[in-house]
Symmetry: C2
Subunit: 212 residues, 2 copies
């Protein structure tokens, strides 16, 4: 079994679920922002269950969530029922706009970060991290159309517009929408090694060839 | 407005919805197989509504559908409530295995094809097309692990293992899982021109860079 290089925790025993990954969804979340990492991380769980991970969809409240393009999904966990998270994936989407300045969201995000959760974002999920103060003085990225806004939400955020994702240790931010797939594969590589990440990539036949 | 080059139909009037795209979901569907095309095609609808398209998630029956990796989604349409489809996207996933030899599925697929629906598949969705006889004597592809099975389900199917997708006019098949993103961008390009497809690609920031 690959050694888990999980931020802030150590594996308690062989076979115990250890790495709890919560993928957050909310009204107005962008579909591929979460569905890309979901596919990568759940496929990893299916292919390599001995890595001791558990990946779940997580919402603030119970019940179905309406995504920005009209997809309706039902999460497995809520803030109330979720176990402690080792990794959070915070997707973007138009729904993040209403979350900026929201003290409930800020408190939840800061609480997870303070507890040692590895904080990862896709697209404009980074705006929420910045708004909670997580990105001050750090390198980060977001969707190309939100780079200026990202900078305005924090102090001395070092924008990385050309990076697909930025791994700054306990915080990882990604570029827009589809970049979450690349970030999630990096996450598997970081947590379980390149070989396991390559197996997921092969399973997904992720040899992208944009036709335009 | 770009000219719609839609298979088998002509646009009836400026501003009328014309291109109805149904993305089929079923128990055991692979998440990214449908979520990739969903993101591409719904983003196209948001960015370029004057192209006259409508994209919906479609299931056989009413109610939520459980995908193979555990995502639960609620479709907008059922076979009973769906308008005539100009384009069908048939994703793959473990759930396709139970559909092979199923006369209800065969009849639905054959009926759509006979009515002039542009039939597109992702991953092992191609197995269902082959099982319904749609791929006999044609070039086609599917997930790398299902190529032999695809050949065994039809007569003289010309396998294209190295193609990301195969456009054979009224039938388009794609390689595994993530290939549906590339196929859907091709579909936008075919229906509405390269410029509109490029706008969708830009919106999704689809500049993939697999890290492993």
């Amino acid at each position: 079994m690959a050694t888990l290089q999980l931020y802030g925790r150590e594996r308690s025993g062989e076979g115990d679920p250890m790495t709890t990954v919560g993928i957050f969804v909310f009204p107005g979340v962008e579909e591929l922002d979460f569905a890309g990492p979901w596919e990568v991380l759940r496929a990893w769980e299916r292919l390599q269950p001995d890595d001791g991970q558990h990946v779940a969809l997580l919402a603030q409240h119970d019940g179905p969530v309406d995504c920005v393009l009209g997809l309706r999904v039902t999460p497995q966990l809520t803030w109330a029922t979720s176990p402690p998270l080792d990794v959070l994936v915070y997707p973007g989407g138009q729904g993040t706009v209403a979350q900026l300045g929201d003290e409930t969201i800020r408190g939840w995000v800061r609480g997870l970060a303070a507890a040692g959760t590895l904080m990862t974002s896709v697209c404009t999920g980074a705006l929420v991290f910045a708004d909670a103060g997580l990105l001050d003085g750090r390198p980060a990225t977001t969707h190309w159309a939100s780079l200026d806004r990202l900078a305005s939400l924090g102090c001395d955020i070092e924008l990385r517009p050309d990076d697909r994702f930025v791994d700054d240790g306990d915080v990882i931010t990604s570029a827009g929408v589809s970049a979450g797939i690349d970030m999630a594969l990096h996450l598997v590589a970081r947590l379980a090694g390149d070989d396991h990440a390559r197996q997921v990539r092969r399973y997904m036949q992720y040899d992208p060839a944009p036709p335009v």
